[in-house]
């Protein structure tokens, strides 16, 4: 498998800034092969000083503990900068992995994109 195949296979990652929040949209599978692409995207945001990140998992068809590990690593980084890392997910097959590992208690979980501003407002109001 050459470098182009490696870049195209498995997982597509897109990043956009929505005000204070950076949205990382994923399409495909997150496993030991593709997770480094997600890790790179999160690390780049942190390096840019973007500490409020939401990862959209709605178009993710598979995620295992390697993907969880990358998200947890990102969460630790943004928390150390008083930020937050949440996920958008309404798919039971993906949420199940978060639930079993107890990580639904750790990540803010949004059911869709429309919930992000609402939750963010609540967070700001509470603060």
């Amino acid at each position: 498998m050459d470098e182009k195949d490696k870049a195209d296979s498995g997982l597509k990652v897109a990043v956009e800034d929505l005000g204070d929040i950076s949205l990382v949209s994923l399409v495909g599978e997150v496993d030991v092969y593709t997770a480094p692409k997600l890790k790179d995207a999160i690390n780049s945001l942190v390096e840019r000083g973007r500490y409020h990140i939401v990862v959209d998992l709605e178009k993710v068809v598979f995620l295992d503990s390697t993907g969880l590990g990358v998200l947890v690593g990102g969460l630790k980084k943004v928390k150390s900068n008083e930020g937050e890392l949440g996920i958008i997910c309404n798919q039971e097959r993906i949420l199940r992995v978060f639930r079993i590992t107890g990580l639904t208690k750790v990540f803010p979980v949004y059911r869709n994109r429309d919930e992000i501003p609402t939750k963010e407002r609540e967070r700001q109001d509470a603060g």
Binding site: D31, D64, V72, V97, T101, V106
Partner: protein, 146 residues
């Protein structure tokens, strides 16, 4: 478990990350062919992915030339058994199974996750002798709508 009625299929993959999806794909194809419910197919995919990932990571993840990983799928009347064997350095399984997780953010989610997703889990490993992980998922009886 009546081993004489088993049909087994073997997949040998290089100990490299890009081949984990192949092992997952074969697991899901066999499980769907056996009419496992879709949520159980998803559970098997995650379990197989975790098993192969562990085998590959412990075998060097392609950074050095390592022996391939053997994935063996055995189907019985009401179960699918998947066995992943590596010839990596092996480890003390007791350290992993008996470790109490107090911090949700610490590493080591793979094996507890596998244990939650399958009906039977067995890991045979010793330092220096490679590792064989076996899981079994049973077909649940279909519920009759009444």
């Amino acid at each position: 478990m009546p081993a004489d009625s088993e049909r087994c299929y073997e997949l040998e993959i290089p100990a490299k990350a890009q081949y984990v999806s192949l092992a997952r794909l074969l697991a899901s194809s066999i499980a769907r062919n056996m009419c496992f419910p879709e949520e159980d197919v998803d559970d098997l995919k995650v379990a197989v992915s975790e098993m192969c990932t562990n085998a590959i990571v412990h075998s060097g993840n392609g950074t050095v030339e390592k022996p391939p990983i053997l994935v063996r799928y055995c189907t019985g009347k009401d179960y699918l058994k998947v066995q992943v064997s590596d010839r990596g350095p092996g480890f003390d399984i007791g350290c992993v199974l008996n470790r109490e997780r107090t911090d949700l953010l610490e590493k080591g989610r793979g094996i507890p996750l596998i244990q939650c997703l399958v009906d039977e889990f067995q890991c045979d490993s010793e330092p220096g002798s490679g590792t064989v992980v076996t899981v079994v998922k049973y077909l649940r009886p279909r519920e009759n709508p009444s």
